[in-house]
Symmetry: C2
Subunit: 368 residues, 2 copies
């Protein structure tokens, strides 16, 4: 199998090195030259950590057409907020039966990419998959280097539409045995953990980050009282999932699965995660914590809440204030059940009585 | 004239000393003993600053009935969030034609006190006044001391109902020549400056305050980006005032009036106010900045916005997140046009076409 990795940040480098280590030919694409110039000069990536060594890359390029030529699997390893523009750029060069994997998809990543490819190419036989989280804990280093701190043992994924999931699993399993198929796409994509912590902790430390003060993002930035807002946010997510008969993987469950210990609250969990201990806050306010996690996490959840008639005052409050801070209309820019035309898809997951109730209430509003 | 000062914090002490300095008999009441025990022992207050010296106080007591006996003017000098309970406690001991002054009233303070006294005593000939801001810049010191940094030159006030304002002005002017009557009560009470800065700056520094980190509240806590939220908040206030044909006194105008310089934005104004330079943030999260300014400032504004059908997403966002942080349902606890039965009063200030439009829209909602 031949791979194309889109994005040469830490995650893209880790993927490219990993695939090369398994003997697969890899093309590595990056939009800007600075991130790939040394990789190109050296002909490959130098990894440290769980995966060590120099790993040759077949093609290192800023040319998407070349990067995508004759590949079987396309790994998109960029902030989810870039999925839209990447989908548009790759659409002309896609060929039948390619598999696109979003690492990770955040909420509704595969739907967004699917929709754009259909707009650009019409119906097109292609498979789109999103993972729940990045497969590596890694850090980009200078030149052509990457530090792969950890290759995760189990990473959930699902295709959209999800009838493709098990078929794709057979293909992927050989290369990525850690990928774990999730039958229901909504079950996976709505359990996006990134949107829970990042924007809200940033908001409650907004002045310090904007002032450029050095502090530990989780240790100092997530106090017992500010974690109450995370609990309230999680409760809103839970109500949305429950309305769709989906199970919420709450933060404490996720921590137990990922880090192997039990905690009684989000606050206690955050305080005990060793990996969080030395993470410093970004020294600027506007980062992916807002620009990625809001439009591809909180905004889709808010739109789903609105469609299901579940009030989401806390989600909305975080979106509203962050929009002003960043000067971006996230509700307009972000993924929603309306702009992704997901309403019929969501209805299939709903109980008949809930559909009828919402139809009735919408009818009343229109009459009024 | 005989005075009663309720509250022996910095403001109450400043008032008591000021009135004593003018030769008026003063009773000083405080709920807790610790604040008044040394004053009682010494028989008066020791002031430094613009007003200097020892000022005897006639009666220093925890007994409200005694404190209110035969006084002409009652000065309430407590956080506005305490007005409700104080009104209830003083009601039984009030006598005809007394003047109650709330220092300051925040938004709708006089309405709230008026309503409670009417509930407790039925119709009762009394005058209730609120000031826009505290008449003194002062700091409580240990024992029986107070530092009066500044006696302000001009402080707006208005009675509720405002037909009493000019009549009361004649009485008050002799003692408080700096009091400046404002003809329209709503014009004054809706231009409450405290609600603009305190809760939002606290919210955007919530983690640091909860963590107990030492930082300068305005210098570090109000950055250019976080001040964008203050501008957005102010814009929502402006729309509400405009709908009632009232003039907003925006922050820059207020700064020019209070501090004598022009600034082009809230951010620039805050940075140039000398008095703000060395103010440190409270080393705990839950303070008057939330518990006073939200229920007696942002909540009434949000309720007025809702009544006037003016969206207030930013006000609501600050209230929602602060409610979770403090564990207090501010929308339920705070002053609103509904719980103060102010709707008819507000209507008198509205244009006929706006009243008709809102009636029409409410009718449609009820039909639905």
């Amino acid at each position: 199998m031949r791979f194309c990795v889109i994005g040469a940040g830490s995650g893209g480098r880790a993927f490219a090195a990993y695939l090369s280590s398994k003997g697969h030919p890899v093309n590595l694409y990056n939009r800007s030259y600075t991130r790939i110039c040394v990789i190109k000069k050296k002909g490959g990536i130098k990894a440290k950590g769980e995966l060590k060594g120099f790993f040759p890359i077949d093609l290192i390029t800023q040319n998407l057409e070349l990067a995508l030529n004759k590949v079987d699997i396309i790994l998109i390893v960029t902030p989810a907020s870039a999925h839209k523009s990447i989908a548009k750029k790759i659409a002309p060069y896609l060929s039948n039966d390619q598999i696109i994997i979003l690492n990770p998809g955040r909420t509704f990543g595969a739907v967004e990419v699917q929709k754009i490819i259909t707009e650009e190419r019409g119906y097109f036989p292609i498979f789109i998959v999103e993972t729940q989280t990045l497969m590596f804990t890694c850090r980009q280093l200078k030149k052509n280097k990457v530090k792969i701190v950890k290759i995760k043992k189990s990473v959930d994924f699902s295709a959209f539409p999800d009838k493709h999931t098990f078929f794709i699993n057979d293909t992927l399993n050989e290369v990525f045995p850690q990928l774990n198929p999730v039958e229901n796409y909504l079950q996976m994509t709505l359990n996006n953990i990134g949107m829970l912590l990042h924007p809200t902790i940033s908001l409650l430390n907004a002045s310090a980050m904007d002032y450029g003060r050095k502090f530990k993002f989780y240790v100092e930035g997530a106090t017992s009282r500010t974690c109450e807002i995370l609990e309230a946010l999680q409760m809103e997510f839970r109500k949305i999932l429950a309305k769709l008969d989906l199970k919420q993987i709450n933060f404490c469950e996720w921590v137990e699965k990922s880090y192997g210990f039990k905690a009684k609250s989000i606050y206690h969990a955050i305080k005990e995660i060793k990996a969080y201990e030395n993470i410093f806050a970004p020294k600027q306010l506007i980062t992916r914590y807002f620009t990625e996690d809001i439009p591809t996490g909180l905004v889709p959840m808010a739109s789903l809440g609105e469609f299901l008639e579940i009030p989401t005052p806390i989600i909305n409050s975080v979106i509203n204030l962050s929009s002003i801070l960043c000067g971006i209309d996230f509700k307009k820019e972000g993924r929603t059940v309306n702009n992704l035309e997901l309403i019929d898809y969501i209805r299939k997951q709903m109980k008949v009585e809930d559909i009828l109730e919402i139809q009735e209430s919408q009818k009343t509003q229109i009459d009024a």
